[in-house]
Amino acid sequence: MSQENGHKNNSHYDWDALMHDGLAHRSLYTDPAIFELEMVKVFGGSWTFLGHESEIAKPNDFISRRLGLRPLIITRDRDGKVHALMNRCSHRGATVCRLPSGSAKFFTCPYHGWGYTNQGELISVPGEGAYGEEYKRSDYNLAHLPRVDSYRGFIFGTLNPEVGPLLEWLAGARPLLDQWLDRYPGTEIVVRSSAQRLVIRANWKMIYDNAGDGYHPAYSHQSLLEIAADRYGPEYDMQYFGKSSTDPDDSPLYVQSLGNGHTFLDQRPEMHADSAWQRQRPQPSREAYENSLKSRVGEEEARELLEVAIGSGMNLTIFPNLLIVGNQLQVLEPLAVDRAQVNWYGTTLSGVPDEINVLRMRTQEDFPALGDVDDNANFEACQAGLAIPEMEWVDISRHLRTRREKIDAQGIITGPVTDDLHMRSYYKEWKRLMSADLKLTVER
């Protein structure tokens, strides 16, 4: 059974007027009604990242997530199949699962005792006879997303049964996701439940805007670049973004528009040109575990392994909520028009010596605690500035008119690293979804 959503789908907004020629209107960040539409259409109208299969590795595992503002339970049933269930009792609407993760065959609503399997099937209703002759229990199963699919462990779902296949939608992001996953042969990514979770008093798109922004590091992260230079040396950390002697746009770094709003910023040509391990501003445990690893596997193998203790140098952004940064999955959770949470899920690798995974933890903690905090302060400051009604526009025109973007046969656009290509690309997809007359449904 399929049910259409009751949201107002079309709006009075003229999206072309609000976004054109390298300008985005402030209301996209400040208007609660636009936020409400986004939570229905952008988060639900196309494929959205829900979680990673390694987070629900065993039969009957579950995690609680959100699709926009909709609470979901992502379950793995006894046969291993993944389900994306609406966390809402079909009776009065209470969430039936109130834990962030765990293992459960059944979810029983504490309010009136309705019980569901982890496939969403309603199996017990106290006093069921009181619902009359027309009542059919299966009409009251937990609702689930009509489409759920995964690619190499990444689970995506949508409320739009008409979207194309996941692989097609991933477009140019797919081979880059492969590169990120295949950094070390014979290993698998394991997403850990622990995460650095940061709440920001700003619109979620402030965070998204920054995900492919190669212009800001030299300025927003000046404190980090300075301590790297002063305490360690000129080759440490991402000082390549801030070389005063060269324009970063003349560096081998670049940004790409991959289709369907997905984008990529490649730091590898600098960060991994020689050894990312060598240029890493040293993380806790570095020398202790380096020595231990070398004594166990030898210099040569250790040298190769240590590279995967360091971030990938890839900023792969999959619209609208999955930001693959370094070795982490950064997942956006909008909370309100001026409030958002970003979860940095840590990852380990299966099949590598323990030393590598300990070092990965200490490396992954570095940027959220020392760099992201400055980004977040700037996003909150942007939100404050956008309160001025008379100042209507946000500029996203960098390299729009310099003719430095190149498009290849697959339609992938490549531009200089400080190009606003990322924002212009995702806003195109955002505008498509916001303008579309979407038929969003749930199934029982």
């Binding site: 404190s223 230079a229 445990s285 400055d374």
Partner: protein
């Protein structure tokens, strides 16, 4: 970022933070006061004065003096799980060794650490101080804390408990480990880019 390369002595390597260190930390973390017996009144008193001073130096922004209270082989750990697990396999809000604490102080002093411009004002309240002696040169303490913070029109309260290991280093009591357990350690956190 044009900075003349200057002669520098690299910070001391992180040799102490090895598997044994983590193993001990995880063991202690499972029951902070489990080992040893209640410390003598003198040691309890010394410990309280040290922890109150530590809190005051953070509130006053005296981060260099604050760091002087820590041992050469220190760890400053804010778990992202409640209760905390093993930091070797789970990511923490922060897990800093001596070198990274120095990085953090240096960062705040650059004048470009925008998350702390203006700085967060903090008022640390410590209470329920329990201290056990784990040996002649080692104390373990547990305290409850409330940190009231104010920055840019936002007033917040952080709360939880801290576990400390104090050791005698060159005859002086120092903080070897500070573990900060926020009651909402596994939830979204706002700007905590100061020292807790």
């Amino acid at each position: 970022m044009a900075r003349a390369a200057k002669s520098r002595q690299l910070p001391a390597p992180s040799l102490y933070l090895d598997d044994r260190y983590y193993e001990r930390l995880v063991q202690i973390s499972r029951g902070w006061l489990a080992a040893g017996e209640a410390a003598s009144a003198d040691l309890q008193n010394m410990c309280e004065r040290l922890l109150f001073k530590e809190a005051r130096l953070i509130d006053d922004g005296e981060f260099e003096q604050w760091l002087d209270l820590y041992s050469r082989d220190c760890a400053y750990w804010i778990p992202a799980e409640y209760p905390p697990g093993d930091p070797r396999w789970e990511v923490s809000q922060e897990f800093n060794d001596r070198r990274r604490l120095e990085d953090r102080v240096a960062r705040l002093r650059t004048g470009h650490a925008y998350s702390q411009i203006p700085p967060t004002r903090t008022a640390h309240l410590l209470s329920n101080v329990e201290v056990v002696a784990a040996g002649p040169d080692e104390l373990r303490a547990r305290t409850s804390f409330a940190i009231h913070t104010y920055r840019m029109e936002v007033y917040r309260t952080l709360a939880g408990w801290c576990g400390y290991i104090l050791i005698r280093e060159d005859g002086i009591w120092k903080i070897q480990v500070k573990q900060i357990n926020m009651i909402d350690a596994d939830q979204g956190q706002e700007n905590n880019s100061f020292f807790l």
